[in-house]
C-alpha cells in the first residue's frame, strides 16, 4: 500500500517536472520574442553588441535546456520511479507566509513597522495553531519591542509613518 502510494507520488512528481519543462520552454520563447520586439536605446554599443545580446543568449540557453528536459522527461514518463519520501502539502503554508509577508509590508504604510510586525507574528503564530494567549501576546509584543530597539533606535532606519502615528 505504502509502495503504491509512493509510486503514485513519483508519477505526480514526474508530471510536475514535465509541466515545469514545458512552462520554462514557453517562458523562454516569450522572453526571446520580448527581447526582439523591444526598441533598445543602444542597438549597437562601443563593443559592437546590443544591450539585448546577453539576455537573449541566456534566454536561448534556457529554451534549449528546458526543451531537452521536456523531451527526455516525455520518454521516461512510462518508467515512473517511486518517490523516496512523502512531501507535506505546501499550498496553505505558501499562502499564509507569502500573504502575511506582503500584507505586513503594505502594513508599514497603514500602521507602523512595529505594529505591523507584531500583527504578522500574532497571525503566523495563530496560523501555526498556537492557541495559548500568554504565548501569543508575549511573543508578538516582544518581537515588536525587539524591532523597535534594533531597527529604529539602534540602526535608525526610516520607516514610513503609518496613520497611527
Amino acid at each position: 500500500m505504502a509502495k503504491q502510494m509512493r509510486v503514485e507520488s513519483g508519477k505526480k512528481k514526474g508530471r510536475t517536472e514535465y509541466v515545469f519543462y514545458i512552462s520554462a520552454t514557453l517562458i523562454s520563447i516569450a522572453l526571446i520574442v520580448y527581447l526582439w520586439s523591444q526598441p533598445w536605446a543602444y542597438t549597437k554599443t562601443g563593443d559592437g553588441l546590443s544591450m539585448a545580446a546577453f539576455p537573449t543568449v541566456f534566454a536561448a540557453g534556457l529554451l534549449i535546456a528546458s526543451m531537452t528536459g521536456a523531451i527526455l522527461k516525455g520518454r521516461q514518463e512510462e518508467h515512473s520511479q517511486p518517490s523516496p519520501k512523502e512531501e507535506p502539502p505546501l499550498l496553505w503554508p505558501v499562502i499564509l507566509l507569502g500573504g502575511g509577508v506582503i500584507a505586513s509590508t503594505l502594513g508599514l504604510w497603514y500602521f507602523d513597522a512595529v505594529i505591523s510586525s507584531s500583527l504578522l507574528v500574532f497571525f503566523l503564530l495563530f496560523a501555526g495553531r498556537v492557541r495559548d494567549w500568554r504565548l501569543l501576546a508575549g511573543i508578538s509584543v516582544g518581537t515588536g519591542l525587539l524591532i523597535y530597539v534594533l531597527f529604529i533606535l539602534v540602526l535608525g532606519v526610516y520607516f514610513p509613518r503609518g496613520w497611527l502615528r
Binding site: M51, F54, L96, I102
Partner: protein, 504 residues
C-alpha cells in the same frame, strides 16, 4: 624598521584600540547573526562614529565589525537556515541540516574554528605578501577577469549531480535574472518589464535570502503544520520546555575533532578565499561557493556533502573569512577599493584625513603595522567572544520549535530587506525569490548554480564587453595575456578532471 615596529606594537596594544576591536567584534557578530541584518550594514552603521575617533581605534573598530560579521553570518545560516550574508549561503547546505540533526554545537564550532583559521592564514598572507599580491591584483584587466569568471563557471560542473539538464536550467535562470537592471557598459535601464523599480535590478541580498531562507522556512512551516495536527496549550512550565528541543548527547566537537575532520577543507577554503579575495569582483560569496564546490569533489566525504557534515561547513566558512584581509590589499597598496566593504574602509581612511594608496606605507608605516597587528588581535577577540557568548546562546535559539521561530524571524527578514535601501520592492523580490527557491527545491534543482550564475553573470558580461571595446574585436587579444591563458587552461583541465572524478 625596528623603531616603526616598536611604535606600532605600542599603538596596537593601547587599551582604546583593544576596546575598539572587541566592541567591533561584538557588534559585527551580533549583526551578522540576526537574520536580515548584514555585517556590511554594521560597518556602514559604525563608519560615522569613527569620525570622532583617532585613526587606529577607528580602524580597529571597523576591522572588528568586518571580522565578526563574517562569522555572524554563519551563525544565522546554521541556526535558522537564513544566510546572514549572501556569502554565508553555502554554509546553509551542510550547517543547517547538521543543526537540525541536533548537533548545533558541532556545526557552529566547525564554522568558528574554520572561520578563525581562514582569517588567520589570510592575515598572515596579507602581512607577508601584500606587496606582490597587490601587484598581481593590478595585472587583472578585463580579459584576465573574464578568464577568471570562466574558471568560476567551470566549478559549476561540480553541482551537476547526475541531472545536467536541471543544473543548466538553474544556471540559465540565474544568468537571465542577473541581466535585469542597468546595462553594465552604458548603465541604461534594461528589462524592467514596465516596472520602474525593476529597472534598478534585483539586489543580491534579497535574492539570496529569499531563495535560501524563505523557501526553507516555507518547507519547515509546512512540515511543522503537518506534524502537529491539533493546537496545543501552554499550561505548565514543562510545556514551555518542550518548545526547545534538547541537543543530541553526542553534540561535542573539540578543536582536535575539528582539525582531524576538516583540515583539508579548511586549507582548501583558505587558499580559495585568499586568492579570490585579493581580486576585484569575486568577493566572499563567490569564494565561499567555489570552495564548497571544490570540497564537494575533493573531500574524503564528498558523497555525503549536503547531508549535514562538518566538512561542508568548514570549506565555505574558511573561504569567506579568508577574503577579509586580502580584499583590503588593492585599497592599501593602490588606493583602489576592490569591494563595497573596501569602499567603506576607504571612506574611513578619508574621514581620518589619510588617502589610501602607495604612500600609505611610507607616510604612515607605524599606523599600518599597528593595523596589521590589530587584524590578528581581532581574530583572537572573534574566537573568544563567539566561543564564550554567541555560540551557547544561538545554539539554544536554533532548537526552538519552528512554529515559534519562523513567525519571529519573518518580520526581522522583512524589515532587514527593507532597510538595505529603504525600498519595499526588495521585500517583494525576497518573496519572489522564495517562491522560485521553493519550486526549484521541489523539482530537485540545486540552488547553488542559480546563485553562482547570478553572481558571475554581470561580471562575465561586463568584462567580456569591456574586453571587446579594448581589443577592437581582435580574437588574439583574449589569449595574449599569460595570466588569462593560464586561467583558461586551469578552467578546462579542472572541469575535465572534476567530470572524470565524478564518473569514477
Amino acid at each position: 624598521m625596528f623603531a616603526a615596529l616598536e611604535s606600532a606594537l605600542s599603538l596596537a596594544l593601547a587599551w582604546e584600540n583593544l576596546v575598539g576591536v572587541v566592541a567591533g567584534v561584538v557588534l559585527g557578530v551580533s549583526f551578522g547573526a540576526l537574520p536580515g541584518v548584514t555585517g556590511y550594514g554594521g560597518i556602514a552603521l559604525g563608519l560615522p562614529f569613527t569620525f570622532f575617533m583617532p585613526t587606529v581605534p577607528a580602524m580597529a573598530f571597523l576591522l572588528g565589525i568586518y571580522k565578526g560579521g563574517m562569522f555572524g553570518g554563519a551563525i544565522s545560516a546554521i541556526t535558522f537556515g537564513v544566510p546572514g550574508e549572501p556569502s554565508s549561503a553555502p554554509t546553509v547546505f551542510d550547517g543547517f541540516p547538521l543543526a537540525k540533526k541536533g548537533k548545533p554545537y558541532t556545526a557552529l564550532n566547525t564554522a568558528l574554528y574554520s572561520s578563525i583559521a581562514g582569517n588567520l592564514l589570510a592575515d598572515l598572507a596579507v602581512i607577508f605578501t601584500f606587496a606582490p599580491m597587490g601587484v598581481l591584483s593590478l595585472k587583472f584587466g578585463p580579459r584576465e577577469l573574464f578568464a577568471l569568471m570562466f574558471v568560476c563557471l567551470a566549478t559549476l560542473v561540480i553541482f551537476m549531480e547526475g541531472r545536467i539538464i536541471k543544473a543548466i536550467i538553474g544556471t540559465m535562470i540565474g544568468f537571465f535574472l542577473a541581466t535585469i537592471g542597468p546595462d553594465p557598459i552604458m548603465n541604461y535601464p534594461r528589462l524592467g518589464f514596465g516596472i520602474p523599480e525593476l529597472e534598478a535590478g534585483i539586489g543580491l541580498t534579497p535574492f539570496v535570502v529569499g531563495l535560501f531562507a524563505l523557501s526553507e522556512m516555507l518547507i519547515q512551516f509546512s512540515e511543522s503544520l503537518a506534524a502537529r495536527g491539533k493546537g496545543w496549550q501552554l499550561e505548565t512550565t514543562e510545556d514551555l520546555r518542550q518548545l526547545i528541543r534538547d541537543p543530541s548527547p553526542s553534540d561535542r566537537f573539540s578543536v582536535r575533532d575539528w582539525f582531524t575532520t576538516t583540515w583539508r577543507e579548511t586549507l582548501l577554503g583558505s587558499g580559495v578565499g585568499i586568492f579570490l579575495g585579493a581580486l576585484p569582483g569575486p568577493g566572499g560569496t563567490m569564494s565561499a561557493f567555489t570552495a564548497y564546490a571544490l570540497a564537494g569533489r575533493l573531500s574524503k566525504n564528498r558523497g555525503r556533502m549536503g547531508t549535514g557534515i562538518p566538512e561542508g561547513v568548514a570549506a565555505p566558512e574558511a573561504a569567506d573569512s579568508a577574503t577579509v584581509g586580502p580584499s583590503l590589499i588593492p585599497l592599501f597598496a593602490f588606493g583602489i577599493p576592490g569591494s563595497a566593504t573596501a569602499g567603506l574602509f576607504m571612506g574611513a581612511f578619508m574621514l581620518q584625513g589619510i588617502a589610501p594608496g602607495p604612500g600609505l606605507f611610507t607616510d604612515y608605516m607605524d599606523i599600518m603595522l599597528a593595523i596589521f597587528m590589530i587584524m590578528l588581535a581581532g581574530t583572537v577577540a572573534n574566537l573568544v567572544i563567539s566561543k564564550v557568548v554567541m555560540i551557547p546562546v544561538f545554539a539554544r535559539l536554533g532548537l526552538i520549535d519552528a512554529r515559534i521561530l519562523i513567525p519571529v524571524l519573518m518580520p526581522l527578514m522583512i524589515l532587514g530587506m527593507y532597510a538595505i535601501d529603504n525600498r519595499p520592492f526588495d521585500v517583494l523580490i525576497m518573496v519572489g525569490a522564495g517562491l522560485l527557491g521553493l519550486l526549484l527545491q521541489r523539482l530537485e534543482i540545486s540552488l547553488a548554480p542559480t546563485v553562482v550564475a547570478y553572481i558571475i553573470g554581470p561580471m562575465l558580461e561586463k568584462h567580456f564587453r569591456r574586453g571587446l571595446i579594448l581589443s577592437g574585436g581582435s580574437v588574439t587579444y583574449w589569449f595574449a595575456s599569460p595570466i588569462a591563458l593560464g586561467l583558461y587552461i586551469v578552467g578546462i583541465v579542472a572541469s575535465v578532471l572534476l567530470l572524470r572524478r565524478k564518473k569514477t
